[in-house]
């Protein structure tokens, strides 16, 4: 019998953080305080996941629990420090967060067409509390993930992006989060809310990175409401330092004929986890969840997806790719739930992994739970090494073994970037080439056209 979380050493710092963060929300409506309290109670009742928890079986979080993280201090950056993270050629609106807090002076929040709004969560709660009330900490209220509860309790700030009915944004919106601090382990909790009303359309780009190589724990939760016939495309580039603990949750609810897509590039962190949970709540709703994860050295990366087909005529597609090298470990679990009423559901899932070393490990688990009888569902997972026939073909034309392997590894990954906005693709490719085993050789191979 393990001790309750409240009697464990980690409890107190988190309790202190909860009290401290509470002061940031003093001006917010009463329901915010109530929901924070509710979230705290859920977290303190369960604490960090235990290895017996099925959802965390392969991903022990004891390293996070045992590190004395303090809330990240307020840090002021100058534009020069932020600019490298704004993709070249990107000219849309930007919300910059540093150590969990919005930095208006570094952001470009204005300039959106009428009917589209990008503001910090605190401003949004002051201006339109009744608008946020149905969604904030409600889209993701029922999560049994302890980090969702922790985020609800400790979030300091976030972005609120709202599109009125029929508003289409041609330019993507960038949400950038940087964590700075090298001396003591720090943590930041960030919560974004995106509301796309009926018929609206937007592309969101989330990028998160470390400044310096400090140990930090970044817990991000993004709630997305996709209205009737609306379309939201979410792209994410996680490029934290190899000492960071980035945990993220993406939760979307898609109404009738709405469309949601996510494409997550997860490259950093000594322990990284992406939880994506989409609820297809209206008929004709669809989603496409794609991603690429990379783990090398002693990194551990985990992706959990869950799609709920709740009503008839919904469809989902998933393609995740992974590259695991060194002594790294990757986990993929894709759960698709088709409820009894969700006839004509169409769900496909694929997970392809490339293992680059004998010590690397991948655990991939597709999980289909189907309660309707007229459905089309499929899943496939592969785990393999580079194709030696391809390696030999390249070598037989004069490429050395290392260059051939680097080119093939990059080619495997590059498929996951196809179709992404060009400036995003370039940013992802640059990070990928920096972090991929043999990236220098691949850069040489693929440069110049």
């Amino acid at each position: 019998m393990s001790l309750s979380f409240e009697s464990r050493p980690a409890y107190l710092p988190y309790r202190e953080a909860f009290d401290q963060t509470g002061r940031l929300w003093d001006d917010a409506p009463a329901w915010v305080a109530a929901r924070r309290e509710e979230a705290w109670n859920r977290f303190s009742a369960v604490g960090f996941p235990s290895p017996r928890d099925e959802e965390w079986k392969y991903t022990p979080t004891s390293a996070i629990e045992q590190t004395a993280f303090r809330p990240a201090p307020e840090t002021l950056l100058v534009l020069r420090q932020v600019e490298p993270f704004i993709p070249f050629g990107f000219s849309g609106p930007v919300a910059v967060f540093v150590n969990g807090r919005l930095q208006p002076a570094l952001s470009r929040l204005g300039g959106l067409p009428e009917g589209a709004t990008l503001v910090g969560l605190h401003s949004a709660l002051a201006l339109w509390p009744e608008e946020l009330e149905p969604n904030l900490m409600r889209l993701a209220a029922d999560e049994d993930n302890p980090f969702a509860a922790l985020n609800g309790a400790l979030a300091e700030d976030g972005a609120y992006l709202r599109l009125r009915q029929g508003i289409e944004l041609d330019q993507p919106v960038l949400l950038l989060h940087l964590t700075a601090g090298n001396h003591v382990p720090v943590m930041a909790h960030l919560r974004h809310l995106v509301v796309a009303e009926a018929g609206s359309r937007v592309t969101l780009l989330a990028r998160q990175a470390s400044l310096g190589d400090g140990v930090h724990f970044v817990d991000t939760l993004t709630e997305v409401a996709v209205g009737e016939g609306a379309a939201v495309d979410y792209l994410k580039l996680q490029e934290e330092s190899p000492r960071a603990y980035p945990l993220a949750q993406l939760r979307a609810r898609v109404e009738k004929d709405g469309r949601f897509s996510s494409r997550i590039f997860s490259f950093g962190g000594q322990l990284a986890r992406e939880d994506v949970h989409v609820e297809l709540a209206g008929s004709g709703a669809s989603c496409q969840l794609d991603g690429l994860y990379l783990a090398d050295g002693h990194q551990h990366t985990d992706t959990h997806t869950r799609i709920d087909h709740r009503v008839p005529a919904t469809s989902s597609r998933q393609t995740y790719k992974g590259i695991v090298a060194g002594r790294a470990r990757a986990v993929f679990k894709g759960r698709v739930l088709v409820e009894r009423d969700a006839q004509q559901a169409d769900a496909r899932q694929a997970n392809h992994n490339l293992l680059l070393s004998p010590e690397a490990e991948i655990d991939t688990t597709p999980q289909l739970e189907i309660y309707a009888d007229d459905v089309k569902c499929s899943h496939g997972a592969t785990v393999g090494q580079l194709d030696e026939k391809q390696v030999f073909y390249l070598r037989s034309r004069g490429l050395d073994d290392a260059a051939a392997r680097a080119a093939l590894t990059y080619a495997f990954a590059a498929g996951a970037m196809e179709g992404a906005i060009p400036c995003v693709r370039e940013a992802v490719a640059a990070t990928l080439l920096e972090r991929l085993p043999g990236g220098e050789l691949a850069r040489e191979f693929f440069h110049e056209f």
């Binding site: 194709d387 030696e388 026939k389 391809q390 030999f392 073909y393 390249l394 070598r395 037989s396 034309r397 004069g398 490429l399 050395d400 073994d401 260059a403 051939a404 080119a407 093939l408 990059y410 080619a411 495997f412 590059a414 498929g415 191979f445 693929f446 110049e448 056209f449």
Partner: protein
């Protein structure tokens, strides 16, 4: 330039080549013919340095050096080219990047400056016109979704770009329609030069109507059992391989 002496070689532990001796001089075209399973492709792959193909005894020398000591990429940079019987598909790697990397690896090895994108494009487009390939193939992934004929043309394109000193064509002619066969033959003929040699591994005589060999060798049961001029190929076309195999069966094996 290529000297093969009493070569025994095994694939996956099974001895396939049993005493091959062959000399290829600069400027010569040799055809190696023989029934299925005679060891033709094994010989081609041994020369290219394919893993799993092991020399058991005998020697292969390339301009006086021991070829078997070189890894496949060194052989390629030294000017040995194998046109594969079954070219592999490489999704995600376009022909353009692939050809440029291959050519520059060879140029670097020879101490020549690497070509930049502009010069390379000009060169490769000219070669594509020669081979009869649409430029669109440059931007497609290597062999991915190519028809059988397109794959073989792509091999000939690579050969044309790399301008090898020794080109080995492993049944490049099999399964081709007449237009593709002519394109392959034209590619080989364009490569012919006093300092270059070509080894055509083939099952059929028909390629030899278009590329006239200096010597024809018949391989059976892992040995060269007969060598001759072009007329030997015609004889094989008429009589098949049966009579050769029977002759071999009656000869005492050393």
């Amino acid at each position: 330039m290529l000297e093969i002496r009493d070569l025994y070689a095994a694939v996956d532990g099974k001895t396939i080549l049993k005493g091959i001796t062959l000399t290829v001089n600069p400027g010569e075209v040799h055809a190696i013919m023989g029934p299925n399973g005679s060891g033709k492709s094994t010989l081609a792959n041994i020369l290219a340095g394919r893993e799993g193909y092991r020399v058991e005894s005998g020697s292969i020398t390339w301009f006086g050096r021991d070829l078997t000591a070189l890894p496949p990429e060194e052989r390629a940079r030294e000017g040995i080219f194998l046109a594969f019987q079954y070219p592999v598909e490489i999704p995600g790697v376009s022909n353009l990047y692939f050809l440029k990397a291959a050519l520059n690896a060879r140029r670097k090895h020879r101490g020549e400056p690497e070509l930049d994108a502009m010069d390379f494009l000009a060169l490769v487009k000219g070669k594509m016109a020669d081979v009869g390939m649409d430029e669109a193939f440059l931007y497609r992934a290597v062999n991915e979704g190519f028809s059988g004929g397109e794959k073989k043309r792509n091999e000939i394109l690579q050969m044309a770009v790399l301008e090898p000193t020794l080109a080995i064509l492993d049944e490049t002619d099999s399964g081709l329609d007449i237009d593709a066969l002519k394109a392959v033959a034209a590619g080989v003929n364009r490569l012919r030069a006093p300092d270059r040699s070509i080894v055509l591994v083939t099952h059929y005589q028909r390629l030899l109507d278009h590329v006239v060999p200096d010597q024809v060798h018949v391989l059976a049961q892992g040995r060269i059992v007969k060598s001759g001029g072009r007329e030997l190929a015609l004889e094989l076309e008429q009589r098949g391989y049966g009579w050769i195999e029977q002759e071999v069966a009656h000869e005492p094996l050393l």
